[in-house]
Amino acid sequence: MAREKFQTLTEQMFYILLCLQRECCGADVMERVTTMTNGRVVIGPGTLYSLLESFLSEGFIRETKVEGRKRSYLITPQGRERLAGEVRRLERQTEDYRKFGEGEFA
């Protein structure tokens, strides 16, 4: 299920992983993603919680610190690989667009 779920990353998944290249506590991820994307991508707290749990169980992130109820996370090599894979997929799409799409629309 999880493998199928992460075959392609949604924007929200992508930015959470991107954000967690630096250690960050869960609650701060929402704010950081909003700042990174100038408010274009907004992550709801429920969705954030579910995705962090899924990333943890899939090994894409790891828990680094637990201070009371505050938990911090950091991306793992496996998570970096998945993020890079997604970037390659998006680049290929962009290249294809440039190759076939732009000419047609120009």
Partner: protein, 456 residues
């Protein structure tokens, strides 16, 4: 409940988070803020009317057996607080949040994740509970179907039994409909989310209508039960049943609340809850058995006899002197006074049928008077009469009924030989069953049939 508090029944289907949230927002606008929720009720407290946004979310890892929020739930609530959502209450995995911000970030911003949370929660709650109830109602229905095959005329002529059949049928349809409705919604939502859309709207209105139909069936069942309160012993049986039902309804939620307050682990609370349910169930069954034995030993389930006769062997027997449509005397038997015959008639009438059961029984041991027992049931509905006919003619303990040449104006007839002679006669409005301890002559059958056809 003081004027500062208000309770409301939670009718919404558990997956209809949108409708629940909109309802809470309407109540807030009227000056009622949600305070707490439990399995059936929402409690509000009086406040200034305000524009408040509510969100109902699902946390599948939580359970109704948790005494306090899990670590995960607390983290979830912290994330929500960071986004401007205040935790209000939760019942198991269903959580309620509110925000005073005019346009807060939605708690769920990914429809796929939202659907996954809802589905995981529903499998553990709505689906599991309804499947268990379905099995329980199915087993009860099956046991009543067997009873119907054994004594169909008693069943159709009792408003209480008919009410129970109606309730079971409506309950079965309701449970199947709820499960089907949920899975249709889930698969349609899954397809919609896969196409980049949102979860589908939940049809709470349909569930509400189903709920009203169920309440109607329950009311009819209760009315049917109460219509038989004057029967001997029934008042005690009903008092016991209703009393125990009330006790179960009150004791089980209170017991769960008490267990949760002890600060015990989820497993211990669950175990305690199951033990409480099983214990109360055993108590109910033991009480019912004790009551049945007591009623049987005191004869409270039988109406007052005309006389209690003591046989020459010292046994006491109830003797009735009811009027019977056809007696052994009518059939040419010499019935001596020393046989001390009891003439017992029992008539039941329901919305669908009237049934009379008649027995003439010589109480004195050693009397050579034969068995003479018969019943007639007036059933105006063809389908129901056919159903009863099939059940009567198919059911047998040792010797099966055999088709016989219709006699005495009957449309159909069945006969069963053996120690006694049993007849089943089918007419346009009734069924007649005769059990005789001798081989009836054609004239005797004709007389009995004529008298029973005249009975109403």
């Amino acid at each position: 409940m003081s004027k500062e508090k208000k309770r409301e029944l939670n009718w919404y289907q558990a997956n209809d988070s949108e409708a629940m949230a909109r309802r809470l927002e309407k109540m807030a606008a009227k000056g009622w803020l949600l305070e707490s929720v439990d399995s059936m009720w929402r409690t509000y407290r009086r406040a200034e009317p305000s524009s408040v946004r509510y969100a109902v979310t699902y946390f599948p890892d939580a359970s109704v057996f948790d005494g306090s929020p899990t670590g995960g739930q607390e983290t979830y609530a912290d994330y929500c607080a960071a986004a401007g959502w205040e935790f209000v209450s939760a019942y198991g995995p269903i959580q309620y949040f509110r925000s005073t911000r005019p346009d807060p970030v939605p708690i769920e911003t990914d429809e796929g994740e939202k659907l996954r949370s809802i589905h995981k929660t529903m499998l553990k709650t709505l689906v599991l509970a309804h499947c268990l109830l379905l099995v329980s109602v199915g087993v009860t229905t099956w046991s009543h179907t067997s009873s119907f095959r054994y004594a169909p005329l008693s069943a159709v002529s009792s408003n209480m039994t008919l009410g129970l059949y109606l309730l079971l049928a409506v309950l079965l349809v309701y449970l199947v409909a709820i499960l089907a409705d949920y899975f249709i919604w889930y698969f349609r939502s899954k397809a919609s989310v896969a196409r980049g859309g949102a979860c589908k709207k939940v049809h709470t209105q349909a569930r509400l209508m189903g709920g009203w139909v169920l309440i109607g069936a329950l009311a009819l069942c209760l009315a049917g039960t109460l219509s038989e309160v004057l029967k001997p012993g029934m008042a005690i049986v009903m008092a016991y049943s209703f009393g125990m039902a009330a006790l179960l309804i009150v004791a089980i939620p209170l017991g769960l609340k008490w267990l949760k307050k002890r600060g015990l682990s989820r497993g211990v609370v669950r175990g305690g809850y199951i033990a409480l349910c099983v214990g109360l169930g055993v108590l109910y069954a033991a009480g019912a058995i004790a009551l049945a034995m007591r009623l049987a030993s005191t004869g409270a389930m039988h109406r007052e006899p005309a006389e209690v006769y003591t046989t020459s062997y010292g046994y006491t027997r109830d003797l009735y002197r009811d009027g019977l449509p056809v007696t052994l005397e009518d059939l040419g038997f010499d019935v001596p006074a020393e046989a001390h015959c009891s003439y017992e008639a029992e008539v039941d009438r329901s919305l669908l049928a009237s049934c009379g059961r008649f027995d003439q029984d010589a109480l004195e041991i050693g009397s050579d008077l034969p068995i003479w027992s018969y019943q007639t049931a007036i059933i105006p509905w063809d389908w129901l009469r056919d159903l009863c006919w099939d059940a009567l003619s198919e059911y047998h303990s040792t010797t099966p009924f055999q088709p016989a040449v219709p006699r005495c104006g009957a449309e159909r007839a069945m006969i069963r030989g053996g120690r006694w002679q049993d007849f089943l006669l089918y007419y346009g409005d009734r069924i007649i069953c005769i059990q005789a301890g001798w081989e009836l002559t054609e004239e005797q059958v004709q007389l009995a049939a004529d008298r029973l056809l005249a009975w109403s």
